[in-house]
Each structure stands twice: as structure tokens, then as C-alpha cells.
């Protein structure tokens, strides 16, 4: 599938900002099943956009914009060609042994409720890591409701699980915590999802998890949709949790009264058919 993505982040300040420093993880990379045809990042202020690679192999851009300004726009857009690989993720950049992804983070801290949930789902699914993960995926998708109201970016897995509701980020954190409690390395993936119901404009990017299955490698699980990743998923950044893969992180001087809006558009491009 050829997917056209536009991801715009707009900051408006009541009082002009004196300067802004940001780190962007907005650029997808190629792997088997995903090819970036064309991609660019545009910042509305004059600044030097420096590109480098973080420890996980994500492409990171940093910039330092000098104010004063009352509005700052960061736009990432481009076209990505994807193929369905049945959720198996191959050809990615791996800088660490899998066991690193067993590491717990504040956002994915395990609590007894999640551990019990994981144990039950795994036991019901029967033997094998892959079966256990699919069992976990189905149960989590069934039990937790998608709701944008009660949670915020700093909500932990345990808090979201207690409310039984959250956004894709929260469901992913719970899935990661649960998988790690079963001894399965798991990581957070930030990216985009092309909806097949014709909705193009979205309020945010998407998030899902990858878990390491012996003999198969990394397998992607999308708990918000209850499926493994398909050719509708565009993988952008990887991390131990949301903070590690966050699309934009930064700080500023001045600029009190900041208001943030994010506009994401994910649409199928062209009218290309597979032969």
C-alpha cells in the first residue's frame, strides 16, 4: 500500500517564545515491508535542522529556533510504500540484544493487576510465546476501551489498566508491561495507521508494540485495533516506552500560555495496484 502522511505540530504562545529547542523522531526508516519513497521535515522558523541517529537506530532531528515568535509549526510529510508481512518485522536496525527490551520504565511499571492479567491470558492461550502474546492481545483489546478522555501522555500502564480505558499509547504500555512480565522482550513503536473506513484526518499518530518471539524475531501487536501490524501501519520510531519514541520532545524559554495542536493525515496515495 502506498501511504501519504502529513504530520503537523503547531504551537501557539500567548506571550512570544524566546527560543525553542526540540528533538524530533518523525522520520520513518526502511525495513522489509516498508520503504520510504520520499520524506521531508519543515520547521516554520529559520534554524539548522541537524540529523543524527539515536541509540535505537531512530532517525532524530534536532533544532534550536531563536525567537521571539508566537507560533511554531513542525511539519513532517512524505510517502511510504508498505507490504503486509503478517506482523513479522525483519530488516530493522538492531543495536542491542533483545534482552534489553525486558527493562522496566516508569511508564511501563508492572503492577500486580497487570501481572495477574498476563498470567491468566497466557495460561488460557496454551503453550508458546506467540500464542500467549496473541491471547494477551485479544484480551487486552476486549477489556480496555479506547477513550481519549481520562488519560494524558504521562499516564502509566498501571493507572490506565485500573481505569480499563485509554488511548493507543496506554494500551501499548499495558501490553508491553504484560509481555515483559511473561519474560518476553517488548518495545514501544510510534508510527501511523491508515484507517480503512475512509477517515483521513487524525488527532495524533498511532502506537503499538513489538514483542520478540524466539525463531520468528520481532512481531508487531496493535492492541488498540486488536491485530498484528499490517500494510496499514507505518513504523516511525522505537523505544522502551512512549518517552523513548515520542515524536516531539523539547523545551523553551518564554512563551507562556502554550497551546498545542497536532494534525495528522494518513491517506492512501495514487492508485497503484499490486501485480
Amino acid at each position: 500500500m502506498r501511504i501519504r502522511i502529513s504530520h503537523e505540530t503547531v504551537y501557539r504562545y500567548d506571550q512570544p517564545a524566546g527560543g525553542v529547542i526540540q528533538t524530533l523522531r518523525l522520520t520513518p526508516r526502511n525495513h522489509v515491508g516498508q520503504f520510504v519513497v520520499d520524506w521531508r521535515i519543515d520547521v516554520s522558523e529559520n534554524c539548522e535542522l541537524a540529523q543524527h541517529e539515536d541509540a535505537f537506530g531512530n532517525i532524530v532531528h534536532t533544532f534550536n529556533a531563536d525567537g521571539p515568535f508566537t507560533e511554531l509549526r513542525v511539519l513532517a510529510e512524505g510517502e511510504v510504500e508498505t507490504q503486509d508481512t503478517g506482523g513479522v518485522v525483519r530488516g530493522t536496525i538492531e543495536r542491542f540484544p533483545e534482552s534489553l527490551y525486558l527493562r522496566e520504565t516508569p511508564l511501563t511499571r508492572l503492577d500486580p493487576a497487570i501481572a495477574e492479567f498476563a498470567r491468566a491470558a497466557s495460561a488460557a492461550a496454551g503453550g508458546g510465546a506467540l500464542k500467549a502474546l496473541h491471547g494477551l492481545l485479544a484480551r487486552l483489546h476486549g477489556e480496555m476501551a479506547f477513550d481519549t478522555d481520562p488519560t494524558h501522555p504521562a499516564t502509566t500502564a498501571a493507572e490506565a489498566f485500573a481505569m480499563k480505558r485509554g488511548v493507543c499509547q496506554d494500551l501499548t504500555h499495558v501490553f508491553i508491561a504484560a509481555a515483559r512480565s511473561l519474560g518476553v522482550p517488548a518495545r514501544y513503536i510510534g508510527g501511523h495507521f491508515h484507517r480503512n473506513d475512509g477517515v483521513v484526518a487524525q488527532e495524533a499518530g498511532h502506537a503499538w508494540a513489538e514483542a520478540f518471539v524466539p525463531d520468528l524475531g520481532w512481531v508487531a501487536f496493535d492492541p488498540a485495533n486488536g491485530i498484528s501490524a499490517t500494510d496499514a501501519h507505518v513504523r516511525v520510531a522505537v523505544g522502551l516506552d512512549y518517552l523513548g519514541a515520542a515524536p516531539v520532545r523539547g523545551t523553551r524559554t518564554g512563551g507562556a500560555g502554550e497551546a498545542l495542536t497536532v494534525a495528522v493525515q494518513v491517506a492512501q496515495a495514487g492508485r497503484q495496484m499490486q501485480s
Binding site: N30, F35, T92, G270, Q274, S275
Partner: protein
């Protein structure tokens, strides 16, 4: 477009590129054999030139010894060698003639003039100097053809097929140089930095016009792993494997967009491009440079086959 026409455009570009490559190999070999033996060691550079051209089998069936005389004859003028410079231009010209109307006047002129002038060299150059001039002329002919395609062709499927021919041949050629010379590029090579190696490394870089480029990119003396890095992974170098695949992916993508459908050729090209983009030199050396190059040549041949099945047959 008829697949026949696409086939002619593709092979026309491939053969012109191949003629240029042979001239580069011969020039580099001539240069290195002009060095005193103490500098370059007791290697048979002429046999290695034949191996780099990928026709050792045919050569040793016809000749017993690889030396200046037999190798230049075989690679440049032999009518028995299907990939000699002479035959490359011959085949390129007959491909061009079959699709005369799909070419611009400038392109046809370039290839036809080359073919006619080649008759002038029919009696074989008599001296080393004359042969060196001949090799320069071959490269200039290829430049003229390539330049006229770049400057005069409509940007449609005809142009894209001819570009694909150029880049798949170029990728194959660079990979062959690396395949024959890989042992000189291994980091644990024992006589590291000796004069022998310096001239060999410089020779490798010269054969892809990258000696000056090397110093621009790395700003240091010649190091074998950096030579490999430049020729394999650097997008900036127009003859690197990575750059060839960047262009292959782009041109195949344009064809797919124009025709509204894509297939194995696009997927194979993207897969190789991804592999090159996600590789680092330490990992390639760790897994074995020779294996990596061998794998690349096989991948490149698979792409050639996929293109043939999808578009040319």
C-alpha cells in the same frame, strides 16, 4: 511501450556502460603495471583485470597466459569475446538501430558516430600511448551518449528504462571490482599501509573515478575499510552500490507510478536498497566482506531477472 522497445533501450544503456567500465579497468591496470614491481608486488594484474570483467572462463579457454598483449586484445578488440569493448558498441548500436525512433537525434548520433569511429581503430592501436588514447575515447563516447540521453530525452518510460539499464550495470561493475579486490580491503590485512596496498587502493578508487572524492569525503589517507565504505555505502559517490540502488528504486518507482502497477522488480530493488541503508561497515566486515559482495551480486542478478520478466519479455 512494447516490451521489445523497453528491452532495446535497457540493453543499449547497459552495453554502453559496460564498454566504459572495461575501459576503466584496462586504464587502471595499465597504470598499476607501469609501477616498479617492488611497489605493487608479484601479482598478475592482467589476470585480475580479466576476472573483474567477469570473463576468466572464456579468456583462459582462448589464451594460456594473461599478459598485457592478450588481455588488451581480449577485453578491447576480440570479436570472440561477447563483452569486449568492440562487441559492446556493436551490440549497443544494433539495439539503437532497432529503436531509432525512440531515441533522440543526439543519442543516435552519439552511438552511431562512436560505432563508425571504432572502425578507425580497426587496425588496433600500435603503441601504449595510442591505446591509452583509445581508452579515453571509449570513456568520452560513453559520456557523450549518457549526456545526450540526460539532456535530450523526454522524461517518460523510455528514459526510465534506459536509466535502469545504466544503474544495474554500474552496480554490477562496482560489485565486481570489490569481489576481485576484496582481500585488499580487509582491515586485518597484514602488510597494512605498505606501498603495495597504497597503489592497489588508489587503483581501485581510480577505476571508479573516486580518488579525489575519497579525500573530499574522509579527509585522511587511504584506509581500506573506508575505501570499502565509500564504494558500498556512500550515497554521495555516483558509482557506489548504494547510490546505484537509490537511482534504481527511483526509476522503477516512476515506471510503477506511470503504469499504475508494480511487481517483483520494485520490491526486489527496495529490499536491496533497504539492506544497504541499514548496513554499517563494521557489521559487513563482521559478517564477511566477500560474502556480502557475493550476496549483493546475486541480489543484483535477481533484480535483472525480475525486470526482464516483468517488463522486457
Amino acid at each position: 511501450m512494447l516490451s521489445r522497445t523497453a528491452d532495446n533501450l535497457y540493453w543499449l544503456a547497459r552495453y554502453v556502460e559496460r564498454a566504459e567500465y572495461l575501459a576503466r579497468i584496462l586504464e587502471a591496470t595499465q597504470r598499476i603495471t607501469a609501477m616498479p614491481l617492488a611497489y605493487v608486488g608479484e601479482t598478475n594484474e592482467w589476470a585480475s583485470a580479466v576476472a573483474t570483467a567477469g570473463c576468466s572462463g572464456a579468456f583462459f579457454a582462448a589464451h594460456e597466459e594473461a599478459n598485457e598483449e592478450t588481455v588488451t586484445e581480449f577485453l578491447a578488440f576480440s570479436t570472440a569475446n561477447p563483452s569486449s569493448i568492440l562487441n559492446c558498441f556493436e551490440v549497443a548500436r544494433s539495439n539503437a538501430r532497432a529503436i531509432r525512433t525512440a531515441l533522440t537525434v543526439e543519442m543516435w548520433d552519439a552511438i552511431n558516430t562512436t560505432w563508425l569511429e571504432l572502425k578507425r581503430f580497426g587496425n588496433r592501436p600500435q603503441s601504449r600511448d595510442e591505446f591509452a588514447r583509445f581508452l579515453r575515447w571509449v570513456q568520452e563516447s560513453s559520456l557523450r551518449f549518457d549526456g545526450s540521453a540526460y539532456r535530450t530525452m523526454l522524461r517518460n518510460d523510455a528514459y526510465w528504462f534506459s536509466r535502469i539499464g545504466v544503474y544495474i550495470e554500474r552496480a554490477d561493475n562496482t560489485a565486481r571490482i570489490l569481489d576481485v579486490k576484496y582481500h585488499l580491503l580487509l582491515p586485518e590485512d597484514e602488510h597494512i599501509g605498505g606501498p603495495l596496498d597504497y597503489y592497489q587502493w588508489a587503483g581501485i578508487l581510480r577505476s571508479v573515478s573516486a580518488l579525489t572524492a575519497y579525500h573530499w569525503v574522509y579527509r585522511e589517507s587511504l584506509k581500506p575499510w573506508l575505501v570499502a565504505d565509500l564504494l558500498i555505502l556512500k550515497d554521495q559517490l555516483p558509482r557506489s552500490l548504494s547510490s546505484c540502488y537509490e537511482n534504481l528504486v527511483q526509476n522503477l518507482d516512476r515506471i510503477a507510478n506511470a503504469y499504475g502497477r508494480q511487481g517483483p522488480a520494485q520490491r526486489q530493488a527496495r529490499a536491496v536498497r533497504t539492506k544497504l541503508q541499514n548496513s554499517r561497515m563494521e557489521e559487513i566486515f563482521g559478517e564477511g566482506l566477500h560474502e556480502f559482495i557475493g550476496g549483493f551480486i546475486a541480489d543484483n542478478n535477481r533484480l535483472g531477472e525480475a525486470i526482464r520478466q516483468q517488463y522486457l519479455a
